[in-house]
Symmetry: C2
Subunit: 220 residues, 2 copies
DNA sequence: TAATATTTTTAGCTTTGTCTAAATTTAATT
DNA sequence: AATTAAATTTAGACAAAGCTAAAAATATTA
């Protein structure tokens, strides 16, 4: 089936919200999409008619299987374009998201398949998020929040869960990127901040808030 | 200034029509855009308000300098994306146009500049049409219709003026592409068709209609 | 449980871009 | 020049996607 840009944006946002909460409610979707609750209700009716979600008045909603597949298609397109922008066009990782927001709505199966191949069928986007394949299958990776890693273990940064421009700028400042190797030297009880040592750099301190949003895996 | 997708499509179509005729009229634009004359009139008012064209009721219209620059920006984006699709994603040249129709409306100066650089600042798209630079400057090439070339001269195909899928499929059948070298062996008075010899192929005959739309330059 | 607060929906309006049908203007023809 | 034909514009309607304000349903609290 084919969707409008607006429908796709709603589907995608619902998908992301229900990943965390299971059921989604009108106000949180309105907040996520920077629109009004009334607009959300209108769109929910449309998406229900198209049989993309379970929804009853006043009761909350969630995507059904068809809806989830539609969402994963958009996510796939978004992340492939992000990869293209960062890897081929050399955009900084904090700039790719907003452009990919537009590119993701171009609908051509063949385009996306060719793009995927051209990029070498990548599994993760520039923020470390997994890129679903054309069937909606999502690659998995063993990763933990940096805030849960014991001292002295060497880990590799694999993704970042807060992708605001502010966060990404901050990581750029610390010279932390995907693939960066580091170890945790010390955890300060006072505010939960961590002293870390990034390979080939001098030790530095990051806040608990940053650490919680940086995901890593052990170097094998 | 920023334009909607619809505005950009109108601007682009007006630009192409006025290249040939100077002044454009409502019905021909409606035909070009596959819409109704009334819709064209509505949009003309909008574009006039935005000071993109000269227009007086019942008198025809043409883009002014601002409008032309806006058109060239869209043309530039379209042709760069076409180049990307053909050159990097290996699309057949008869398939790139319809996808580029969507990509051309994504507005990011930086995206297009980086794409341009990534592609090696190409001067011509996969159909041989010139790609304007960011200032709207269009590269020129000395070319003539194949139907005007004298016998026995070796020429190189540089562009195709009819870019319908039908035409492009036909050229694919003849194995004629941009850069193909060929010579005209004979011109048949009866229907104006040409016997040509494509390098490394046996001679064949093409209709006058095809020949008129194939543009070539002499091999230096 | 009754009163209050919050959330969600409905009703009705707005803008963009399209359409049809009718009116108007310009062009062509007798 | 008068009539007919063609081109163009206007008027009014519609769908999509948004909004505000008010109503309705659900949750919370005294």
């Amino acid at each position: 089936m084919n969707f409008t840009t607006s429908e796709e944006n709603y589907i995608k946002s619902i998908y992301h919200l229900q990943q965390e909460t299971g059921m989604v409610n009108t106000n949180s979707l309105a907040a996520e999409m920077q629109t009004r609750a009334a607009s959300v209700t209108d769109m929910l009716k449309k998406l229900k008619t198209k049989k993309l979600l379970q929804y009853e008045r006043y009761k909350g909603f969630r995507l059904n299987e068809t809806g989830k597949k539609a969402a994963l298609d958009v996510v796939r397109k978004h992340r492939l374009w992000e990869y293209f922008l960062a890897e081929k066009l050399k955009f900084d990782w904090d700039k790719v998201h907003s452009i990919a927001e537009h590119l993701e709505h171009i609908s051509s199966e063949e385009l996306i398949q060719r793009l995927d191949n051209f990029l070498g069928n990548p599994s993760f986007d520039p923020h470390g998020d997994p890129i679903p394949d054309k069937h909606g299958k999502i690659p998995v990776i063993n990763q933990q929040s940096l805030s849960d890693i014991p001292l002295k273990k060497t880990v590799t940064v694999s993704s970042v869960s807060n992708q605001t421009v502010q966060m990404l700028e901050m990581l750029k400042h610390y010279e932390i990127a995907l693939g960066t190797q580091l170890t945790v030297l010390k955890k300060f009880e006072f505010d939960g901040s961590l002293e870390i040592k990034v390979i080939k750099q001098s030790a530095c301190i990051i806040s608990e808030q940053v650490a919680k949003n940086v995901f890593v895996h052990y170097v094998q």
